[in-house]
């Protein structure tokens, strides 16, 4: 007899809330048809979402594992599947499977440490899961700094949550920046890598980076200028995937598969991989 467990067969999810974050980012709340969280996960892990007939794609789970009621996905409209997701309405069923990949080492390497989160644009999506996990277990971690930048104020994902919740937490410093001046913005203006260097963090902390590849590259270089070692910096990768199980071959980089050996990598580990991500 065959083992009837089949990881490629998804379960049903229902979209119970759609929040418009920016002109091209929406955050979708997903539960099972009986109203439960689809499955357990850890910060940094991903899930495969699909609309049958449109396609299936991998997204990082942006809600924290400490949220036991539902799952959230912040998704930027940029391809076939995401375009469709952006047009759906509350109550729509989709399919979901996961969780996939490793997680940020929130209970090991991060434990007891000061943490510096740096995100650019939609790169906040995977970090929001870790940040809210850390906020939930606040006494397990040291000081928290968050640097987040986007093209404009309107492109800052989760702006309301950042201002209403993160900024008000004790021991958390939030530094926001946008690429260009605009009338209703009195905060910092400039690119994330430069802002990080201007802020000049002490190096006795662990950094977590996510954003466009170019931002990651320059921010990592900036952190190294400040004296950070690559072993102190974590990031999360994303490549095209079909199975998310280490079998379809798409996300293979060197001897690693982003879907199962990642998506979270320590930056020194990336040096052992060819530059194909």
């Amino acid at each position: 007899m065959i083992d009837m467990k089949e990881p490629l067969i998804p379960v049903l999810g229902v979209v119970t809330d759609i929040r418009t974050d920016t002109p091209d980012v929406k955050t979708f709340r997903v539960v099972t048809p009986d109203g439960k969280k689809p499955f357990k996960h850890m910060p940094g892990q991903c899930a495969m979402l699909s609309m049958p007939g449109i396609g299936e794609a991998l997204f990082s789970i942006t809600s924290s594992p400490t949220n036991t009621e539902f799952m959230e996905f912040s998704i930027k409209k940029c391809g076939c599947v995401t375009e469709w997701l952006h047009h759906m309405e509350v109550g729509q069923q989709i399919t979901i499977r996961g969780p996939y990949g490793n997680a940020f080492p929130v209970d090991t390497a991060f434990a007891g440490r000061d943490l510096l989160f740096i995100a650019g644009g939609i790169g906040l999506a995977p970090l929001r899961s870790v940040i809210n996990y850390v906020r939930h277990y606040r006494d397990r971690y040291g000081k928290v700094d968050i640097v987040y930048g986007s093209r404009s104020k309107g492109d800052l994902v989760d702006y309301k949550e950042i201002v209403d919740e993160w900024c008000k937490d004790a021991g958390i410093n939030v530094y926001l920046t946008i690429d260009r001046e605009q009338p209703d913005w009195d905060g910092h203006v400039g690119f994330v890598p430069n802002y990080v260097k201007e802020l000049g963090f002490d190096t006795n902390k662990t950094a977590v980076l996510c954003g466009p590849p170019i931002m990651i590259k320059f921010t990592l270089a900036g952190l190294q200028e400040l004296g950070f070692d690559k072993t102190q910096v974590y990031t999360t990768l994303e490549l095209r995937m079909k199975c998310a199980l280490g079998k379809c071959g798409r996300c293979n980089v060197g001897a690693k598969y982003v879907c199962k050996d990642g998506p979270v990598f320590r930056c020194d580990e990336l040096d052992t991989l060819p530059d194909e991500y």
Partner: protein
Amino acid sequence: MRKCSLTALDALFAKMAESAALYLPVDGDDGRAHYAQWQEGLHLSDALNTVRSAKDFFFPQTENLMAFKVNGKTIEIIDTRTEADDFIVFGVRACDVRSFDILDTVFLAEPADSYYANRRAHGVIISLACTRPAETCFCSTFGIDASTPAGDVVCWKTDDALYMEAKTEKGSALMAALADLTEECDTDAVKAQQATTKERMAKLPLADLTADKFGGGKTMEFFSDPAWATLSEACLGCGTCTFVCPTCQCYDIKDFDTGHGVTRLRCWDSCMYSDFTKMAHGNPRLTQVERFRQRFMHKLVYYPENNGGVFGCVGCGRCLTRCPISMNIVKVMKNLGGDAK
């Protein structure tokens, strides 16, 4: 060891086909060997090997994974899997038998692929030792002995008889069912054939080919080799090498809306194709150089790194025969590392 006279081969096949679908290489209208389901009147091909590999039996080129019914905002997920029927594949060569071990490491690794596991559990492999390896053969490079393949049952075909030996429980069960058509025999004829085949193997043009310089941990050593640019220059990106390759297993998953529902299909894919890694925001392998490199680095460095040094090539030589520009893994192995011959 047991044997069956070649004059009784049809009776033997008929007996096997009573209990399970029997597939074997037969000569097609194109003059080449292809696997076909045995029926009265079909004869075992004398060709060295089939054009396509035997991977189709466990990992078909296209298969339905599941189905969906979409009605307004609701979706029904339909599990279309069924238990596979028992089947027998006869005449698998040593290289192709080894390819199943390689496919197993991918598909049976946790979480196992139930579609593949299902067929694997229901398939019996009857291998056939090679006697006249071709000049494109280099299985010995990867430690494969063409004169003594693995398999559930191993066969040696001489001028007058088929010699058979069960190697697994499945194989023993099959041999027990064939007891009336086979007789116990000594191994002299098989030993003589093995010796002759080995002599022939040693004289093949690729007999000295070695993969020693490759293996796990060599990513940075070979990744930036300037030879990739020249080796891949004429590559058409047609993917023929990946389709005939017994170990290539990259796949695509796509939905097809029939108008009455959605079928989710799995199809072979190829890392040689330009859209293999193409994402909404760009493509990490922009040119054929990178795609070409990926295929060979995977077989010679990445796969061994993750699988105890075993290479992801079995030396069947299909890519040597089929590539429209005559590029192949042998040329790659010879030209990388700066010691081109």
